[in-house]
Amino acid sequence: MTADNNMRQNAIYLDHSATTPVHPAVVAAMAPFWAEQFGNPSSHHRIGYQAARAVEKARRTVAEVLGTDPETIVFTGCGSESNNLALRGAMTASKAAGRGEHLIVSAIEHSAVLETARQLRDYFGYELTILPVDRFGRVRISDVEAAIRPETALISVMAANNEVGSVQPWAEIGALARSRGVLFHTDAVQLVAARQWQLNAEPVDLMTIAPHKFYGPKGVGILVVRSGVDLVSSQTGGSQENGRRAGTLNVPLIIGAAEALRLAAAEREERLAHVLPLRDRLLAELPAALPDQCIVTGHPTERLPHHASFAFRNLSGNDLLIHLDVAGIAAGSGSACSSGDPKPSAVLQALGLSPEWTTGGLRLTVGAQNTDAEIDYTLGKIVEIVLKLSALEAGYQVVA
């Protein structure tokens, strides 16, 4: 007996902020690089040169799409690694150069940034300021300004938040940082495919990209490192990626990353035109159907185009996900947890929401294959599930 004949597979995938299926064109672009053009780009023979040429072509593609120079593109193993390299690399380089050892991040960063920042503080002696956010989940420029000190080396604020979708004022923060001689890193994992970049003209020194969020493969990340930014590598070894990231280049995934990014740019308008109306239906119709029990989290308009997020009063996001999965809907809470030990969401707490709202986060992120009929079904199911679970919880409250 298999999963297929016990229970039908999830029919509706609404978790595109977690990951996306790899685009068939990306699969095709990667195909020759597993067994045919298998060379190590560091090797000094024609098989190796062939692989190196393919990687450099991919690097040029990525740079072109982002409006930057190929030398600024560092391929890594994932978005988390890119964030680690940005923070560890820039802080270590600043310290080594006798410059400042102060780091600023926001309270709603992805854990790859937040935990790295905390480790830099707790184990390596760096100074850390964690910026609050407003009730829409956005960092205030005035808070950034107040936090900058003479010894501030790096500000890291994400371009858009994964859990509540709010797009941050990254360009203003970057401009402010630049005017103060402080490096600016932005984790653009969620935002990168949603807008046209011109990084040579934008105030960003370090930018993190994860191709699996836009129909590319998992297992590869990108860190854009502006020319002239000093980074001490955190993974040491060979001199790959100009000494910024040691390790044999993962050629097929790098090829896939570039192709996914190229397609995301080429198809941006039609992809946005597809997801926006579906997303807008979720944002409008769910709170309308459950006026006392459901609120939209994050910014109502300044948010990722495919991203809808909600909080449900006195419910557990974990329970919601179980019920949705049984109903054939794959959704997310914003922060993955499979151990049944959910904690109140730190992001929802940072928004200032009271405890009745902070356990019941739900994230619905739409993608290229979703349809209006799926949104109809999803809206109906969520309302049904929320009413059912709320009635159950109300019963326990009385007992307790």
């Binding site: 229970m7 109903a327 049944g340 030990d341």
Partner: protein, 388 residues
């Protein structure tokens, strides 16, 4: 992408949520249900455990990370979905609090009975039904039989493994939605079934230790977590002589011999607790025997108590031998049990469960006992009654 079928529910098959532990019984239960044609969903509850010290995160012994991984592996092998439900807060507020309250009141609770009533066949059954399941299944050794339009709870086929004692709180409305697939088999047969299916053969939750303790020390747990004081007091014999001092009533159990700190010519046993005077009553082995008890919170599985005195076999502890008795329903969901013989170790707070043959009629929590020797005392212990 594949053709999207909107509603994943298969209307031709009944849906069952199986409470999985990763052990042999619930794994075989899930496998049997699949073979019987049900749509099966695996679920495990994450229960509260005492916050501990040290690097390893403490875990409730019913749902350690290892057990969770085991259960998930079994679910993957069977090809069924598997979820972990967070029941930590609810479990703390109900079962752990009940455990503390009962000890504070001088009784010795069986939290597993209460957990089955409030959590497994309360909270989890509600959740299963909310998932549009028709049934909740567990790996208990018991059977549900439908007879004349009513549901009967019967002992498991394997009388050595029978677990109907901890299930005596069932109501008809619950039994209508409960399945015990391994209750139809002996433990050996279940192990064979597990081997045939390539499932794990080790048992989980065999131990009757309290699942939410960091260590096996319930006295320390009560000391750390109860909001009440447990002052020292006198240890009295049946003649009201003070033989020593006790360290707080919750830290002693009926029938206990060791750890009293008294040197006496003949062995002394804890006979009862006089909560009104904060006294621990001790006496010789012969005085342990109780002839009667009164149970509270009595549940009759049929939904109605018998009209009058009824012959039944009564178990006063999970592993106790059934005693021929006469059970008489009393007002206020209580019942009087008259044993056909003196029974040692009848402990207030434990469940008294009534059987007629292999059918579990119901049961309740032991409120008071009547110990003939003890009853001669001028002042009865709180754990005993002189009139009824």
């Amino acid at each position: 992408m594949n053709e999207l079928s909107i509603n994943p529910r298969d209307n031709n098959r009944q849906r069952v949520v199986v409470a999985m532990s990763g052990g042999v019984d619930s794994s075989v239960a899930a496998a049997l249900l699949l073979e019987q044609g049900y749509e099966v969903i695996g679920m495990m509850m994450r229960l509260w455990s005492e916050p501990g010290s040290g690097p390893a995160a403490p875990a409730n012994r019913c749902c350690t990370p290892d057990q969770m991984a085991d259960a998930r592996r079994v679910a993957d092998q069977l090809g069924i979905p598997f979820y972990v439900a967070d029941v930590q807060q609810h479990f703390r507020q109900t079962i752990v609090q009940f455990f503390l309250d009962e000890h504070d009141a001088g009784r010795t609770p069986n939290p597993c009975v209460e957990c089955n009533r409030q959590i497994r066949f309360g909270y989890l059954l509600d959740r299963a039904l909310a998932l549009d399941a028709d049934f909740l299944a567990t790996g208990h050794y018991a059977r549900v039989v439908q007879e004349d339009g009513a549901y009967l709870l019967k002992q498991g086929k394997d009388s050595h493994k029978d677990q109907s004692y901890v299930l005596h709180t069932f109501r008809q409305s619950q039994l209508a939605h409960v399945l015990f697939p391994v209750g139809e088999y002996t433990k050996d047969e279940v192990r064979h079934l597990a081997r045939d299916h390539g499932l794990p053969v080790a048992s989980k939750q065999e131990s009757q230790d309290l699942c939410f303790l960091n260590d096996g020390n319930y006295r320390r747990f009560i000391h750390d977590h109860s909001t009440q004081d447990h002052p020292t007091g006198p240890i009295l014999d049946l003649n009201e002589r003070e033989l020593g001092r006790h360290e707080g009533l919750p830290f002693y159990t009926i029938g206990q011999r060791k750890g009293l700190g008294i040197a006496a010519a003949e062995p002394l046993f804890v006979l009862g607790k006089d909560t009104a005077r904060n006294a621990l009553i001790v006496g010789p082995r012969e005085a342990l025997g109780a002839g009667e008890l009164v149970a509270r919170d009595v549940n009759w599985i049929s939904g109605r108590p018998p009209a009058g005195p009824t012959r039944a076999e009564v178990k006063i502890r999970y592993k106790a031998t059934p005693i021929q008795s006469v059970v008489t329903p009393l007002d206020g969901n209580q019942a009087h049990v008259a044993f056909s013989t003196l029974v040692p170790g009848v402990t207030p707070g434990q469940a008294a469960v009534f059987y007629e043959g292999d059918t579990c009629l119901g049961g309740g929590l032991i409120r008071d006992t009547v110990q003939p020797i003890n009853a001669r005392r001028k002042t009865p212990t709180a754990g005993s009654v002189t009139n009824k």
